[in-house]
Symmetry: C2
Subunit: 202 residues, 2 copies
Amino acid sequence: MRVSKEQVLKNKTALLDAASRLIRRTGIEGTGVAEVAAEAGLTHGALYAHFSSKEELVAEAFWHGFVCNIAATRAWVGDRKLGFEDYLDGLLSSDMRADLEGGCPMAALASEIGRQGRGVSASFAKAFEQMVEMLETSLERTMPAKQRRRLAVAAISAEIGAMAISRAVRKADAALSDEVLQATKEVLTTAHERQRPTAKRS
Amino acid sequence: MRVSKEQVLKNKTALLDAASRLIRRTGIEGTGVAEVAAEAGLTHGALYAHFSSKEELVAEAFWHGFVCNIAATRAWVGDRKLGFEDYLDGLLSSDMRADLEGGCPMAALASEIGRQGRGVSASFAKAFEQMVEMLETSLERTMPAKQRRRLAVAAISAEIGAMAISRAVRKADAALSDEVLQATKEVLTTAHERQRPTAKRS
DNA sequence: TGTACATCAGTGAACGCGCGTTCACTGATGTAC
DNA sequence: TGTACATCAGTGAACGCGCGTTCACTGATGTAC
């Protein structure tokens, strides 16, 4: 039966929330449309009133999950002035690793995105750029812009790789899983110190 | 009909080759057993004479692909004494990015492995350790062992992340795709220089 | 070396199953008067 | 404000399809004598 305009919006958001969480947990191909609809309290047929296909749902859900994630991060940061190392600590924490469903969609899906269409690729690129920009704000203004950009791009890339690997090896080798996060944090910190104007360049 | 022992081995190898390449190209869930068998010149039924299930095939194929990759890398290195930067250039090149099917299985599958069983996770951990050890040999002996290990772990993690991201954004933003590889290379080089004993630690 | 027979890798039809998608239908909502 | 009707989000059965897996059968290989 027909539902109120308000309810339509609520249902669409519920579908995007469910899809976003499920594809992070079980992957794009491992998530079915019926599962998504059920999680949102609807039947699978209703999904096609909001999205023309699974592909469209996935593209929108990926972006939705990313926006929610950024918003949550901004809320967590609040009014504090966080430094580069503070961001690294947050992004590379074991809490983040444990939260596959709610954590960074880029880390959860990185290697699957290359096989998707241009739309999903564009969402990923936009999400990546936003994360880079956020991290750049934590870098000292005394550092040349080019170096700030370079360090931020490399750090976000490294974070995504380290998180994916930390999760991949965890079932077999918990110590290695921790080591990957720790080593990445330390090496990025070293690179940061090296690029700070207080440290002389050779 | 029955085939010679020699042919049995050839067929099993062909199945592993096909599976290894296909899962890198289309993902674990995106690859069907019939497709793998056909690529190896067999019918799907024959596959079950070699592997008890798709899961077993995937675990063995992942390891097989990795071993082939390491062997190819060693052959490429040959007798040369390569430095850390030489390895980075090779691992983070656009040639590597283009060769999804034949390139590093860890970069192609990183975020999917966390959803697999303990067997695949163990294969991944072992493969990761081997790559780390290979990279460690390129680092100066004058650098403390602990720092060599840390840098190698972070560098392989970063490489895998950068390669996955470079592929993920490529369809939408080729320039960003290149930038990710370049920035990762440069920042890791900086971290390396910083940790060399010739550079004073603060 | 030659013969008889057991072995088993490979074939291809068939299985149940869950997938994404479609569609006739329902009935509360929103709208026109 | 009240009534009549068009709209359309949601339902659930049904669709074709490809999946992983099984199995009776085939026939060349390997082995026992």
